[in-house]
């Protein structure tokens, strides 16, 4: 188990390292940010000094190694635009994004699992058919368009929901959170639902597929033959076995939800990391783009690791295979 864990962590570190190379090399394909940052009125001497100050005159390999060395110390460069450490900029905005992503995922589970259970138990009922068709709609709806329509209906027409911002926040562990206040929750509803729409469909379909796969198996028949109540069979036998793939997918989906929050955040003016990265791409603010990508990759790899670990803990069959 420990050997497996160490090997797995080693792999994860390798992925992160590979990503630093890709991210770093790729960003050098963008035009030099110097022209944007330095005014026209600077003379050649001042220009060179500025380039040297930003470290842009070093050989590429040198720049990469100093980047890597600094990155290990938590320093991913200083934003050209904000003149603040890039990592601080990202980490300041990350809680807002995480809040949005976790909110969306929670919505997906709360709505998707029960609906999926129903659709799996009664695959031929009209409601199940509607749910399945509806889930195709959930996959198909372009998120940004849904966001606009949500704003149009609930903010403009009905006036029920606010269309932008985080609302009132409250501090917990030194970080501002929206979900701790009613006003904040109110602001969170629409963007979280927007982000959740795709996941609801996904969870629904996964749960349904899982239930349909588990139901005909012998241990379910046996549990029924033992005379267990239907609800106990569903919760203890069917749902538990369905949850295993669900945990895997949802763990990985949290990462992609954070990434897709870019779209939702830009529409709902949610002050998260996604909105920052869009602005930074447009203004060629290289350190912030690098910092964002690195933070997301680390989150991603960590989630992968946790999911793998959970999978081992949840599914005894995987544990057995590893032991052999």
């Amino acid at each position: 188990m420990i050997a497996w864990l160490l090997r797995r962590i080693g792999q994860a570190l390798l992925v992160v390292l590979a990503m630093t190379v890709i991210v770093f090399a790729g960003l050098h394909a963008i035009g030099s940010p110097i022209d944007i940052l330095i005014g026209e009125d600077l003379n050649q001497q001042e220009r060179l000094e500025a380039i040297a100050h930003l470290g842009l005159d070093q050989p590429l390999l040198q720049q990469y190694f100093s980047f890597l060395k600094n990155a290990l110390q938590g320093d991913l460069g200083t934003s050209f635009v904000y003149n603040e450490p890039a990592i601080t900029l990202i980490l300041d905005r990350l809680p807002a994004t995480l809040e949005l992503a976790v909110g969306a995922l929670a919505m997906a589970i709360v709505l998707g699992v029960p609906l999926g259970l129903y659709a799996g138990m009664k695959p031929d009922s009209p409601l199940s058919k509607i749910l399945m068709s509806g889930s195709i709609l959930g996959f198909s709806l372009p998120a940004f368009w849904v966001a606009l329509m949500l704003i149009m209906v609930f903010s403009v027409q009905l006036g029920w929901m606010p269309s932008s911002g985080r609302g009132e926040t409250r501090s917990l562990f030194g970080i501002e959170w929206s979900f701790l206040t009613l006003d904040g929750l109110h602001h969170l509803m629409l963007p979280a639902f927007n982000l959740a729409l795709f996941k609801i469909s996904l969870v629904l379909r996964l749960t349904r597929a899982g239930v349909r796969e588990v139901l005909p198996q012998d241990f379910v028949k046996f549990a029924r033959a033992k005379g267990l109540s239907e609800s106990r069979v569903m919760c203890m036998h069917v749902l538990r076995n369905t949850l295993i793939p669900l945990v895997t997918v949802l763990g990985l989906e949290l990462g992609s939800t954070i990434a897709y929050a870019v779209v939702t955040e830009s529409i709902f003016a949610w002050p998260g990391a996604g909105k920052l990265i869009l602005d930074s791409i447009n203004s060629l603010d290289r350190p912030v783009v690098v910092a964002y990508l690195m933070v997301v990759v680390v989150i991603f790899v960590t989630l992968n690791l946790i999911v793998d670990l959970l999978y081992k803990l949840l599914d005894p069959r995987v544990r057995l295979e590893a032991a052999q």
């Binding site: 992925v15 790729g26 960003l27 195709i136 940004f144 368009w145 870019v262 791409i281 991603f300």
Partner: protein, 318 residues
């Protein structure tokens, strides 16, 4: 769809071999007829297919079925900007059934032309990605060993990475524009085809059919083209259908974020984005109708792709 490039033993000199080839081809043909039959059994899928055909036809015939070329600035009238649906044009002698956008474009014309761009980008990128991915996937399976492991690691990494993030990264590196959007989509999507093609190859490599082909002394490339590739086609087709829908959505999203097509030739995503600023003053139609067109297209493709997957999945067949 029923046309299948399967004639593994057509030019064979040995009569026995030719017979076997014909029997094999005949069996494959009947499989495809069976697929078509199964496909048509689902009502939503048939509706999706019909809707898809209508959308494609509209996009192809765009100049003949629209009253205005929305990309020709000479034909646009700024005085007609932001007219609600159903307003008659004062000068041009036709009615803006879906209203006009901020530049005075007839929205119906703009949507039909926008569909062209969306379909071009979606189908184009999916086709290129399919070829690239299949070649890489088959190469990996064929080469085996370290090459295989390396390619599949890259594929896994790509697949586990959120598409939008990859797209943002690549577009940030290479700049905006329709060519770069297609390139981005190809770079993001080839991995799906590669994995599928490799998986099927590994599966098909163990089949008696291939053993028989090898026993007959057929050259490797003939086995690959005649025996392995046909096995890959059904699953690749499913992936392709769903990937076209994904590509169209992603293109629209990127255009919406201002990273896609040029502003003078708006695709559906950009039309929606342009309408965003008028949404808050209740001029909903500029964003609404292009979105409906986008949605219909994607739903149609997904319905078809979904049914294809069910039909082609042997595990679900009774």
């Amino acid at each position: 769809m029923s046309q299948v490039p399967v004639s593994p033993a057509a030019p064979a000199t040995d009569t026995g071999r030719a017979d076997a080839g014909r029997a094999y081809a005949g069996r494959v043909q009947s499989i495809w007829a069976q697929i078509a039959h199964d496909f048509l059994r689902s009502k939503p899928a048939v509706i999706g297919l019909v809707a898809l055909l209508v959308v494609v036809l509209m996009a192809l015939l765009a100049p003949f079925i629209t009253p205005q070329n929305p990309y020709d600035l000479m034909q646009l009238d700024v005085l007609d900007a932001r007219l609600p649906p159903g307003t008659a044009s004062a000068e041009h002698g036709f009615t803006y059934w879906l209203g006009t956008d901020g530049q005075g474009r007839d929205l119906y014309s703009a949507i039909v032309y926008g569909l062209r761009i969306s379909l071009l980008v979606g189908v184009g990128s999916a086709a290129i990605a399919a070829v690239v991915g299949t070649v890489i996937g088959l190469t990996a399976a064929y080469a085996g060993g370290k090459v295989d492991a390396l390619i599949m690691r890259v594929v896994d990494l790509l697949l586990s990475f959120p598409t939008i993030l990859m797209a943002l990264m690549i577009l940030a590196y290479m700049g905006k524009g329709i060519g770069n959007v297609i390139l981005t989509l190809v770079l993001v999507e080839w991995a799906y085809y590669a994995r599928t093609a490799r998986g099927v190859h590994v599966f098909a490599a163990g089949l008696d059919q291939r053993l028989a082909a090898r026993g007959q002394g057929l050259p490797q490339w003939r086995i690959l083209l005649g025996h392995i590739l046909p096995n890959c086609l059904p699953p690749l087709l499913v992936i392709a259908a769903l990937q076209v829908a994904r590509a169209i959505t992603l293109e629209a999203t990127l255009s919406f974020l201002g990273l896609g097509v040029p502003i003078t030739e708006p695709s559906l995503g950009l039309l929606i984005s342009n309408g965003y600023q008028y949404l808050l003053s209740n001029e909903y139609w500029i964003s609404f109708f292009p979105g409906v067109a986008l949605l219909l297209t994607i739903v149609a493709i997904n319905l078809v792709g979904d049914q294809l997957r069910d039909v082609l999945n042997p595990r679900l067949q009774k």
